[in-house]
């Protein structure tokens, strides 16, 4: 036993050495040998979005049980930081709520893939002690955040919510002051439903809001809304659930008022899966489905198609494969909507294209 352990590194080195000179056909087999021979832990570094962090932490802990050798470290430094780090190749994978633009992708040192991992939603949350339920039409959401609705008892609001006792109080908008994927998704939604918003404000992680107060982080927005009556703002669904904030039902493209729930969010993704382009970058705000909640988005992991390290690349490919399949069942309890099956088949094809020196990193059986 002892001797075998002593020999292991040499076997591994020998195997890797062979691999250099081996003809193409034998490469996969040699790679396999190297994987088996190594008892060393494989460390993967990831960094990026804060939104999926609770889910990724859960996945990392669970995947450890699937493959104890793989140790994954994920730093939730924000999507922007995740993109910067993967472009600099200081991490093995990045994570971002927003997709990278063509311009940004042109500057990367290798072909970077977007892998959708989970779904999130942004909810319009409000604090009116007298009102339990609120319905907002497409025009009204835009009008509120453009600052066109000044009082809660505005006739347009009252007409949509006949039962609600709307107070004669000034309406205060609260927005995220820090750059965030939440703001990116929300402003993208507003830009897609309102020409006025698109022209005056636009979409992005940090935008110039026409009215309101800025609060830092989901917790800041939730805190301000919770402590001040007559406020309205937007936070991630999970955050609104955890802090027991009220949120509005939003009119979708089909004209139905939809509450944000895991199944209505997945419905958004499912109804648009057919439009998913080959590079998987897809905005699903204002989706077409009859029961689709309109402010939803994919959260992505960013990986290089051509991995530079066979062992790490293989571990990463297997982790991602596991996460979009078995991993999805850990989502709902943490308020992350599972990916629709229509999207998963496209993601599978993409994951198979992950390679090391031209050889796919996933076994054929998958």
């Amino acid at each position: 036993m002892k001797y075998a352990q002593l020999l292991l590194p040499f076997i591994a080195v020998f195997a890797l050495g062979c691999e250099k000179s081996a003809p193409v056909g034998e490469k996969a087999a040699t790679l396999h040998l190297a994987t088996i021979a190594s008892e060393e832990p494989i460390d993967l570094q990831g960094a990026g979005a804060t939104f999926p962090y609770p889910l990724y932490s859960k996945w990392i802990a669970e995947f450890q049980k699937v493959d104890p050798r793989v140790r994954i470290n994920y730093q939730s430094i924000g999507s922007g930081g995740g993109i910067r780090q993967i472009v600099e190749r200081t991490v093995d994978f990045g994570a971002s709520d927003a997709t990278m633009s063509d311009e940004e992708l042109a500057k990367t040192p290798g072909k970077l893939l977007h892998i959708p991992m989970t779904l999130g939603a942004v909810v319009v949350t409000f604090n009116l002690p007298e009102v339990a339920q609120l319905r907002l039409s497409r025009q009204l959401v835009a009008a509120i955040f453009l600052g066109e609705i000044k009082e809660w008892n505005d006739p347009r609001l009252a007409k949509l919510n006949p039962g609600a006792r709307l107070p004669a109080k000034p309406l205060t908008v609260v927005y995220r002051s820090d750059g965030s994927g939440t703001t990116a998704v929300f402003t993208e939604y507003l830009s897609s439903i309102s020409a006025a918003w698109k022209e005056r404000v636009g979409a992005g992680k940090s935008v110039k809001f026409p009215v309101g107060l800025g609060a830092k982080g989901n917790e800041g927005v939730a805190g301000q809304i919770k402590t001040s009556a007559a406020t309205i703002g937007y936070v991630e669904l999970a955050y609104a659930k955890q802090t027991a904030l009220s949120y509005a039902a939003i009119e979708n493209r089909a004209g139905n008022f939809i509450e944000p729930e895991l199944k209505t969010i997945t419905a958004s993704a499912a109804s648009t899966a057919g439009e998913m382009p080959d590079d998987l970058r897809l905005s699903i705000v204002d989706a077409v489905g009859a029961d689709a909640y309109p402010i939803a988005a994919y959260s992505y992991i960013l990986v290089y198609q051509n991995q530079r390290d066979a062992l790490k690349g293989k571990a990463l490919a297997r982790f991602l494969w596991w996460a979009v399949h078995e991993g999805q069942r850990f989502g709902p309890s943490l308020h992350y909507a599972p990916l629709p099956v229509e999207a998963v088949s496209k993601i599978e094809r993409k994951l198979r294209s992950l390679s090391y020196k031209g050889t796919s990193l996933l076994d054929d059986k998958k």
Partner: protein
């Protein structure tokens, strides 16, 4: 932290400075020379670090410097979507919140310092002094949370509605006033404890002299203590100002984070440190990053400039003849 007080210590310092090089020249000791070179190198490191930071920040903001030039300083539009960047609202917010904090904190701090060093009984002095210093050890995020959950609702519901007729603006609770109050509380322990130390260092004979001439307690403080402690007190205020200018977390949690200049202290504002902390982590556009770097550079310059101005003030004040009882 000690500030030189009174003539006696000045002379002692000067004497030591004269003796020191002579002592080194006299004994040619390798250890001493090495020690001197080593300490000098560490001292030089400070200067080098400042220079390296300035160079790095200038480099990082090159794109923004060339695109906007001087207009960056006076521009009032900050729109990352349209890549239009102007820093004036942030410069205004930083300076206004810090100065307002000083206006609130300085009189209170001086009152605390005078009470602790001149008027209180020894047990009170020790325990109260300890509590004041304890206040300085509280992390800023704690002040920020207290601001969000206690101060802002209090301001919004009870205090600001009464102020709106005088100052304009709206009673939101998240505004320049809230930021200034939080900052004032945060710099209070710094200013009061340093001022107290400085006053305590004023020689007892000066107080006794004033009392012997028939001065009341207040007159003694005014005539014998404050003038001698003057430069030290200004030093304490500078320390407080430094903390206020750079404070990020507590400010961003209560200032309202709106990049607009309003003359009302009841309107939301934004500070340089806050916009950097808010937007840097998620910024991906090159121009946006460069503009944020330029804000960093500006904060660096504003802090240095205000500190230099305050030091100049100390120097001027210290040169004024002590007999005139001016603070």
């Amino acid at each position: 932290m000690r500030f030189t007080v009174g003539r006696e210590s000045d002379e002692r310092d000067a004497g030591r400075l004269r003796l020191w090089p002579a002592a080194i020249g006299a004994e040619v000791n390798l250890g001493d020379r090495l020690f001197r070179i080593l300490t000098a190198a560490f001292a030089a490191l400070i200067v080098l670090m400042l220079a390296a930071m300035a160079i790095q920040m200038t480099r990082a903001s090159a794109l923004s410097l060339s695109r906007f030039g001087f207009g960056f300083l006076v521009g009032t539009d900050w729109d990352p979507v349209r890549e239009s960047f102007g820093a004036l609202p942030f410069i205004y917010g930083t300076i206004a919140s810090s100065l307002l904090a000083l206006i609130i904190a300085v009189p209170i701090s001086l009152a605390i310092a005078i009470y602790l060093s001149e008027l209180s009984a020894a047990p009170v002095r020790r325990s109260l002094g300890f509590v004041v210093e304890l206040l300085a050890a509280i992390p800023s995020v704690v002040f920020g949370l207290w601001g969000v959950f206690v101060l802002a609702p209090l301001l919004r519901d009870r205090i600001e509605p009464a102020l709106v007729p005088f100052f304009g603006g709206t009673a939101n609770g998240f505004d320049l006033l809230a930021a200034a109050i939080i900052l004032a509380i945060m710099i209070l322990p710094t200013i009061s404890s340093v001022s107290r130390d400085v006053m305590a260092a004023v020689p007892k004979s000066q107080r006794e002299g004033a009392l012997a001439l028939g001065a009341t307690r207040w007159e003694t403080v005014r005539v014998a203590v404050l003038p001698s402690a003057r430069s030290g007190i200004v030093g304490a205020i500078i320390l407080g100002l430094g903390r206020a200018l750079g404070e990020t977390m507590a400010v961003t949690m209560v200032i309202g984070n709106r990049g607009e200049i309003s003359l009302s202290i009841l309107d939301p504002s934004y500070s340089m440190a806050a916009v950097i902390a808010n937007e840097y982590t998620e910024a991906t556009g090159e121009l946006h990053l460069a503009a944020l770097s330029e804000i960093t550079l500006l904060l660096f310059i504003v802090t240095l400039a205000l500190n230099a101005a305050a030091r100049f003030l100390v120097w001027r004040v210290a040169r004024l003849p002590g007999e005139k009882n001016r603070l």
